[in-house]
Amino acid sequence: MPHPMLVVEDLEKTFTLHTQGGTVLPVLRQVTLAVAGGECVALHGPSGAGKSSLLRCLYGNYLPQAGRILVAHDGRMVDVVAATPHTILDIRRRTMGHVSQFLRAIPRVPAIDIVAEPLRAVGVAAAPARERAAALLTRLHIPERMWQLAPATFSGGEQQRVNIARGFALDFPILLLDEPTAALDAGNRQVVVDLILEARRRGVAIVGIFHDREVREAAADRAFEMAAYAAAA
């Protein structure tokens, strides 16, 4: 495969619930996966198969018990599993974007600034960052009168679109998408598909969870079957 941007090797994830009698919940077993630039891989499998857990491991949000997650960062492959928090923060700032299922609304911060934040974090000046944010919000049909409002009071679909705009604000080389279209109407679903296809043409490597089959078929070029790796079965 040309230029893998993301390589997962023998990843194991288990939860040990110390507060519940030490119950051990195996979730992922020996997951192995490689994603090249320009590829979009859809994680596929029934609820509980570990799709979200895998995505969270990739982003450094969950701590795997074993295995490696190699990410192309600064011209070399860095292992997220072994990386220091300081390095993971740098990877998140410059290399790997993440669109979570729900927006974690920050009180009092206007929608447009939430979208512009990833650009500001890498040193883009306020004006061009807001310009880019405005363009994305417009594309995702968030009316201009809402840009200066904090999204806490927005509807689920509006919050999700703010979240998507934020995820696409910076051209991350790697993107993780956790059900980005779950609360969207057909028109906005198509915008998200277009954003994904444009990112792929730029050479972005994407891993996503798409419950909507049409979106999955339009945006992804292959499915990754989780069933074979789910340890819970």
Partner: protein, 259 residues
């Protein structure tokens, strides 16, 4: 990439009170622009640690290394007392849980802010007054309260004034001890938003001690969890809160409704 050195390096920091342990063998690094949350229940050693870091309480063992504006590494507890005092005036800020510990309650709000500027050599009255006004505005206080003394303010206003007093001299590192403790919920939320905006705009580094995991989630990039004076878990804030490994951290996280 020429990565900058850590702003603060803590190595094996230990403080005992006779045979009792305050904090034991704590090590971590803090980089420029990073916020570190220190959580744990009362008596876990959070405040002892903060006092050792901020040069208020001499550790029994271990080192605190601080990199100053010129890239010079200063061993804080090996430095002379005047050197330490200079650091506290020019490079560091300390926001106390109780505003009474960080403010002069008898002098005006404007003077509380201006005093810090005078301590770093500012002498022009007009300039000091203007800067005080700017900071009153930044922490969302009414300018017509500038000549009032803090004892006439609400707890939330006192805390915002304390923050202004600390940030006006442009510190590089701020230590905060339960900055939202003792405030009611709506006032807390406002203060947190304000802090979040300020640390981002100013590129501040901070160590925030709190027992409130929501405060940590909102403000801190990384966190350490303390219990009985020792660090039981450390990592990225969202990783520690969403996938806690240590039994004690799991207990902390599961004890609240929405971290």
């Amino acid at each position: 990439m020429d990565a900058p050195p850590p702003l603060l390096q803590i190595e094996g920091l230990t403080r005992t009170y006779g045979r009792r342990i305050g904090c034991k063998d704590v090590s971590f690094s803090l980089w420029p622009g990073e916020i570190l949350g220190v959580v744990g229940e009362s008596g876990s050693g959070k405040s002892t640690l903060l006092n050792c870091l901020s040069a208020k309480l001499e550790p029994t063992a271990g080192r605190v290394l601080y990199t100053d504006r010129h890239g010079r590494a200063i061993d804080v507890w090996a430095a002379s007392e005047p050197e330490r005092r200079m650091l506290m005036r020019t490079d560091w800020g300390i926001v106390h849980q109780n505003p009474r510990d960080g403010l002069r309650m008898g002098v005006s709000a404007g003077a509380n802010i201006g005093e810090r500027l005078m301590a770093v050599g500012e002498r022009h009255y007009g300039g000091i007054r203007r800067e005080a006004e700017t900071w009153m505005r930044r922490v969302e206080m009414d300018l017509d309260r500038i000549d009032d003394a803090p004892f006439t303010f609400s707890g939330g206003m006192q805390q915002r004034l304390q923050i202004a007093r600390n940030l006006v001299s442009k510190p590089r590192l701020v230590f905060m001890d339960e900055p939202t403790g003792g405030l009611d919920v709506s006032v807390q939320a406002r203060l947190l938003d304000l802090l979040r905006g300020l640390v981002t705009d100013l590129g501040l580094s901070a160590v925030i001690v709190t027992h409130d995991l929501a405060v940590t989630r909102l403000l801190a990039h990384r966190m350490i969890v303390m219990r009985r004076g020792e660090v039981v878990e450390a990592g990225l804030t969202d990783q520690v809160l969403d996938d806690p490994q240590h039994p004690y951290t799991q207990l902390l996280v599961s004890s609240i409704l929405h971290p």
